[in-house]
């Protein structure tokens, strides 16, 4: 899966949780949870969405690595090679 | 004990005739024929033709005679087949029965009970379908009752006969076939209205034949989350305004259901009383659902369109609440 498709999938999954999100507004380098109002339930549902779409497992210990959108994309890129 | 409204009336008369020799029943076809609505079936065989008297078709005549007999110390029950025929006897009721006590300076009393069927619903067309309880409820000097349940049909006659002044009892023709349980304690007063269903959002006020339709409307409204209180007037003169005002204080809204024609109807009187004495409790205009102002037509769907029906009551309440 190339980078373009990965990014589109992540954004689509995020929009199922927070429909009001506009792709253009998302800055890849700022913490995601500051830009989008996601409580712990939303965050868990976001991970579940990625797991179902990309068939990738994200252990809880890795949560700390996934702060910005860029982190998430890089992490998933490595996991889906 | 399960019985019909008609059977309850019959038992009440049987008990009255047995209890007091002064009591006798008079009217068209009450004896041999057993009553136009079969309410006096079998009484002739038990009490004989002297006390179960068939009359010719002379309503003015035998109602006047009933008044005279009451004056003479008897306790007559006069059956005028329907309110439609009572129009021929209205003069005797208004100008003699109702007025005599006052007119004579308190010397005479007329302990007379007049029973008559009323209302529409059986396609009997204009001349046989009137609801004129309001004409009688207008007359000072008489009491007017409207038994709408089996218990009231059974319980109201005794206090009516005991009353020293004339009492007119209206039995809606559609209620005769009503079936139901009669509890032991059917003894009742003839002064108060009854709350047939508790509620908080609106007070539905009705009487006689319209009670079943009003209760059905209340059930339908409950389904839509509107909790309606239903009041059965029971006594059309004098009106039990205490019960009415208490309910309006609680719900702040009132809809009156009355089969009679709207202009000058009993509904108009109930609304006037509420407006006069519970005005500041009102959170919405008073509303009523009455018969269309037309001679009742024969065709089934036209008659139904002319009469109050449950859907019309529900619609009136919804409009009142803006829901």
């Amino acid at each position: 899966m190339n980078e373009q498709e990965l990014r589109a999938t992540v954004i689509a999954t995020l929009k199922t949780i927070a429909p009001e999100v506009e792709e253009g507004d998302l800055r890849p380098d700022k913490p995601l949870r500051n830009q989008v109002d996601l409580d712990s339930m939303d965050w868990l549902n976001f991970l579940i969405g990625l797991h179902e779409k990309l068939k990738v497992d994200i252990p809880e210990t890795d949560y700390a690595k996934l702060v910005t959108l860029g982190d998430v994309l890089a992490y998933l890129q490595s996991k889906t090679k | 004990m399960k019985m019909s409204y008609r059977e309850a009336i019959r038992q009440a008369m049987h008990e009255a005739l047995a209890a007091d020799p002064r009591v006798f029943l008079m009217g068209e076809d009450v004896g041999k024929y057993g009553g136009a609505y079969a309410c006096s079936k079998g009484l002739l065989e038990v009490f004989g033709p002297e006390r179960i008297r068939d009359t010719p078709l002379s309503e003015l005549g035998f109602v006047g005679a009933g008044i005279g007999a009451a004056l003479g110390g008897l306790r007559p029950i006069v059956e005028v087949m329907t309110v439609n025929f009572s129009l021929l006897a209205l003069d005797q009721i208004v100008n003699t029965a109702a007025a005599l006590r006052h007119m004579s300076g308190g010397q005479f009393s007329v302990p007379l009970v007049i029973r008559m069927a009323t209302g529409a619903g059986r396609q009997l067309a204009a001349q046989h379908s009137h609801s004129l309880e309001n004409w009688y409820a207008h007359i000072p000097g008489i009491k007017v009752l409207a038994p709408a349940t089996i218990a009231d049909a059974r319980g109201m006659l005794a206090p009516a006969l005991a009353d020293p002044d004339p009492v007119v009892i209206f039995e809606h023709a559609q209620l005769y076939n009503l079936e139901g349980e009669l509890s032991e304690d059917f003894r009742c007063d003839i002064t108060s209205a009854a709350v047939r269903r508790e509620g908080t959002a609106v007070t539905l006020i009705t009487y006689g034949g319209s009670l079943p339709k009003t209760l059905a409307a209340a059930e339908e409204l409950a389904g839509a989350g509107i909790d309606a209180e239903v009041i059965d007037l029971r006594v059309l003169r004098p009106l039990d305004t205490t019960t009415l005002f208490a309910s309006v204080k609680k719900t702040h809204r009132a809809v009156v259901v009355d089969e009679g024609w709207k202009s000058g109807s009993l509904a108009a009187e109930v609304m006037a009383r509420i407006a006069e004495e519970a005005f500041f409790e009102l959170d919405a205009p008073l509303k009523r659902v009455c018969g269309a102002e037309v001679p009742i037509p024969y065709a089934k769907h036209m008659e139904a369109a002319a009469l109050p029906q449950a859907p019309k009551i529900v619609a009136a309440v919804r409009e009142l609440l803006g829901k």
């Binding site: 712990s40 | 076939n177 919405a284 065709a299």
Partner: protein, 431 residues
């Protein structure tokens, strides 16, 4: 074959009891012949048959009561041609309603809809293909009818339509009618409008959409709570290291779909604590406290477009964490989709709010009447921790309690929070 039905023998007759058959199967009968005797509410009546024929089968037996129109017996026509055409089986008459004259055709759906809305179909112009009246026509007529009073009210000139009850209440509460927004039908100002205006500083939202309706409901509840419930507030700092570690070990090895959130651990702890402190769990009505039999926790859920709702998670103290997690996830989804059951809104016996995730240290909430307590959880964050003279870094959280002083006192409140703190440090009990 001819069906012989119980005829209506009078205006007042709905049913009849068969007393006696005058014929038996195989007999031939002539038009006008009495074939049965039926008892009505009045007397026994002879019943004639209106066709020549032969008795085939008697379906109803003496003593049975049947409604008018019920088939009593079947006959065979004798030489069908002898009978005048159309005299045999009579087609059922079409229901009267369906045969309105061509000029006034109306669809059954429209007729039913009209009856529901109490609209007189006679006065509706049909826009349907054949000039018939459609459901839309009825809708339009209903709206026009409903709007009509508004028009007249408006035309009533400057005098605002205020109901007597509203005017009286405004006098009692010292409210100036001019400042009150009317919400009643036809623009009338109602009792509730005045009462809402009386509530401190929460202007009623004029818009009628769901959002403002929820805002008005929250405003009314919160105002009433502040007006009627004497709140007292307590807070306690809870070390969360053991709970966090326990949760991480539980979640490792579990697929993401089965992982547990700290929220359910906290909810379970509250539910178990309530078992020892029943005066925090119940309703205050008609000046008396009614303790609740079970712990139905109202979970405060924020909605994306704003607003807050606290539907109930039932019997939290009796369920394993996995079940609570599934139920919580479903509750949040439905809350945000607006498809909660009415019981879920009315059942909570206490409310728990978890604003901590949005980065708030502590939260002191307003109790939801008629409940009598509210527990708040702040953010879990690392902070310096001194214990037995030694300094360390401890992930900790502030747990707070708002309670109704009519029902419980600060002393009992403090013991409740202490119990909560102990439970949160032994997560295995919360399993």
């Amino acid at each position: 074959m001819i069906e012989f039905k119980l005829p209506s023998l009078g205006a007042d007759m709905d049913q009849g009891t068969l007393l006696e058959w005058k014929v038996s199967p195989g007999d031939t009968v002539r038009k006008g012949q009495v074939v049965a005797v039926v008892d009505t509410s009045k007397a026994a009546v002879d019943v004639e048959i209106w066709v020549d024929g032969v008795v085939r089968e008697l379906l109803v037996h003496p003593g049975e009561t049947v409604p008018t129109g019920a088939v009593l017996a079947t006959f065979d026509g004798v030489g069908e041609t002898l009978l005048a055409p159309g005299a045999t089986v009579r087609p059922a008459p079409p229901p009267p309603v369906a045969r309105i004259s061509a000029a006034h055709r109306i669809s059954p759906a429209a007729r039913k809809h009209a009856e529901e809305l109490g609209v007189d179909i006679g006065h509706i112009a049909g826009s349907g293909p054949d000039g018939g009246v459609t459901v839309e026509d009825v809708e339009r007529a209903a709206l026009a009818a409903r709007a009509a009073p508004a028009a007249t009210a408006a035309e009533a000139g400057p005098r605002r339509p205020v109901t007597p009850a509203a005017r009286k209440r405004a006098r009692e509460l010292g409210i100036d009618i001019e400042t009150v927004t009317a919400s009643g039908p036809g623009g009338a100002m109602l009792l509730e409008d005045v009462e809402r205006a009386a509530a401190p500083a929460t202007p009623a939202a004029p818009a009628k959409d769901r959002q403002s309706e929820m805002r008005r409901a929250i405003a009314a509840a919160m105002s009433r709570s502040k007006r009627e419930i004497p709140h007292y507030y307590l807070a306690e700092t809870v070390p969360m290291k053991s709970a966090l570690d326990w949760l991480t070990t539980i979640n490792t090895g579990r697929p993401v779909t089965e992982r547990l959130l700290m929220a359910v651990v906290q909810l379970k702890a509250v539910a178990l604590a309530l078992k020892k402190f029943p005066e925090m769990n119940g309703f205050y009505r008609d000046n008396t406290f009614q303790p609740a039999a079970a712990a139905h926790l109202g979970v405060a859920i924020s909605l994306r477009q704003g607003g807050l709702i606290a539907p109930a998670l039932h019997d939290v103290g009796e369920k394993p964490l996995e079940q609570l997690m599934r139920e919580l996830a479903d509750l949040v989804k439905r809350a945000r989709a607006g498809s909660l059951r009415s019981s879920e809104l009315s059942d909570p016996t206490i409310t728990v709010t978890n604003l901590g995730e949005q980065g708030v240290a502590a939260v002191y909430g307003v109790i939801y009447p008629p409940q009598v307590a509210l527990v708040g959880f702040g953010r879990i964050a690392e902070q310096p921790w001194a214990e037995k003279g030694a300094l360390s870094v401890m992930p900790a959280m502030t747990a707070s309690l708002a309670a109704d002083h009519r029902v419980s006192d600060g002393h009992r409140g403090a013991l409740f929070l202490a119990e909560l703190r102990e439970l949160l440090q032994q997560p295995e009990i919360l399993k």
